[in-house]
């Protein structure tokens, strides 16, 4: 908080004389695609988790889940934590979280199918249960959804007031043949997410600028 904000806030406090009822907590749900060849990218997911652990504040929440053949399940959540409001305790929780994620993604076995929609529904459910003021879903995937014949995901989903950030959307071999496939895939997801009521859709492929993940446009 700089000096100007400090003065403005002091004046606002004096003027209002009461607390801010809005929640300033940030909840982040990260979906990590572990299907097929994308499982090799899991080490990069650790980078993002580390960035989130370093950036999220005391009181914020973080959950990391796998995207597998069917992902609408709590069992796919690798680790979740709501950090303590005391900074020292929050740091201890972050260390434990990091250790857990590190162990979980050390040996990742690739699943046959990729149920991104199921993961999104699960993430939205998790985020809506909490009373966070800002909700973000990070999808670490190539965004190529592959479902088995039994799994049903062709119905409207709700992502109201949730930011959806697709990270490290790598190009597939077929995308290299026809880039329109890649662009079309992203456009499809954008349309679907926005139709679901998401407050923002963003693609972040440059892992050197991870600050774009939590910065609102």
């Amino acid at each position: 908080m700089d000096r100007r904000q400090f003065l403005a806030s002091t004046l606002a406090l004096a003027a209002s004389g009461c607390g801010d009822p809005r929640s300033h907590r940030h909840a982040v749900y990260m979906l990590v695609d572990t299907s097929g060849t994308y499982a090799q990218e899991a080490s990069k997911a650790l980078l993002i988790v580390n960035y989130l652990l370093g950036t999220l504040q005391p009181g914020d929440s973080l959950a990391v889940a796998r995207v597998q053949s069917r992902s609408f399940s709590e069992k796919d959540i690798v680790a979740k934590a709501t950090f303590d409001t005391r900074p020292s305790q929050a740091n201890a929780q972050k260390r434990a979280f990091h250790d857990r994620i590190d162990a979980a993604f050390r040996n990742v076995s690739g699943s046959r199918y990729t149920d991104i929609t199921g993961g999104l529904i699960q993430a939205a459910e998790f985020l809506n249960e909490g009373a966070a003021g800002a909700k973000t879903i990070i999808i670490f995937s190539d965004m190529q959804e592959e479902l088995d014949k039994v799994t049903v995901r062709s119905f409207p989903i709700s992502l109201k007031d949730i930011r959806v950030i697709a990270v490290n959307v790598v190009k597939l071999k077929t995308d290299n043949v026809d880039p329109r496939r890649y662009l079309g895939r992203l456009d499809e997801w954008k349309a679907r997410v926005e139709k679901a009521g998401a407050s923002e859709w963003r693609v972040v492929n440059d892992l050197d600028h991870l600050d774009r993940i939590l910065t609102r446009s």
């Binding site: 908080m1 000096r3 904000q5 400090f6 403005a8 806030s9 002091t10 606002a12 406090l13 209002s16 009461c18 607390g19 801010d20 809005r22 300033h24 907590r25 980078l47 580390n50 960035y51 652990l53 370093g54 504040q57 005391p58 009181g59 409001t85 005391r86 900074p87 020292s88 929050a90 740091n91 972050k94 260390r95 990091h98």
Partner: protein
Amino acid sequence: MSFQSWLLWPDNVPLSMLALVVVGMAFMYAARRPMHDLFRALGHMVGAPLRMAGRWLAAAAAEMNQRNKAVLLAHGRQEVGQRVEREFERLGAIVTRDLQGYPTLQRKLLDEITRIEEDYKKCGEVPPPPPDWTDAVAAVANVKSAGNELVLRVLEEIKRSVTGIHDKAIGEYRKAYETRHRILGSFMPFWRSVDKNLAQVEKNLASLQSSVTTVDAHMAKYEQINAGTDKAQHALTVSAFTQFAIALLVMAVAAGGAFINFKLIALPMSEMVGAGDYITSALRTSEVAALVIIFVEASMGLFLLEAMRVTHLFPRIASLNEVLRRRMLWIAFALLVTLAGVEAALALMRDMLIADKQALLQSLSTVQAGPTEGWVGRIPTAGQMLLGFILPFALAFIAIPLESLIHSARTVGGVLLTVLVRALALVLRVAGQAVRQASRVLIRLYDVAIVLPLLAERLVRGARRSGRIGELDVDAERTHA
């Protein structure tokens, strides 16, 4: 309504326009007097209230100026009165300190002078005169021995006796002079003491004279203020502006100190009250808690200086009896020390939290940092703790510029308000005058628009007047005839 509908002969626009102008001029000529009256009334209607408001504001500014002057002079009188009082106290202290020792000093000087006089008298004692027998010796010296052995022996004997006596006399004479020299030598410390005492007296008198000059200057100022002269008012106003500027500057510096203080304790406060609660969208509860601590420190400083009678912001504290005042002073001081200690502890905690966060970030990063530096790394910690302890005491002194700011703000605010009201009065008067002039300009413009009928009127009047003069001339000729 279109332009065409105004034309009497739409096929002949110039003719229609001419007809319209002629009709319009005729109408305007007919309505000339009422229109002039209307313009005058409008100018008066708008201009008069403006001028009246301007006059009222000017009167209000004069009244405010008088009130400001009264307040300023009263404040100045009180301030200079206090200064004179303080100078008199100082003068009293000097007189008590220096003049109460004067009887002793005088006695000492008299003693020393008496002693010097006595010693001087002792120095004045003449050596014993030479014996009377010198004449006899001279007579004997004139005796002609002519080789008489008896005479020679007698003379030899006399010479021996005289030489012995002379030696003895010379010895006594030298001893007497030695004694005198010794007495004179013992004069020196007394002289020095006298010189020192007189120098001290001179210094004291000079100090007294200087204080008296200061009192004189203050008294002159006091007299001027009492007389309510413009010079005194101007001097007091300038002084108030200077005070205000200085106090504002010091307050700005203090605000910077408070901000640093806030930065020192805001983070560790989140460890106590949590970091997740917000009062406003940008202000956390922990930050408010830190602000509260800083404000409480400033308040304690205020009470401390008030109890020490350095500032006089609270008459209630100033009127407390001595025992209660001292109690209050110690309580405020103890609370300030406690809060300073708490701040030092919080500063240490801040450093620990930052170090913990840094360690976490390093463990999360791919590149591990090297080992932390030894005692060099502890300097910021010690510095933060020291700052945390010192800043509350430094903030305590805000009370002095705050008092100055409050007192001078009355004068500065009053003067600025007066200037503002005067400027407003001037603007209103100018606006009123401008409206009146505008109504006159409108009247002239109206006449310009109907210049042709007016010209015709003038010609007709001229012809009538010349006709009347012609008739008069004919009458005169008839009369002559």
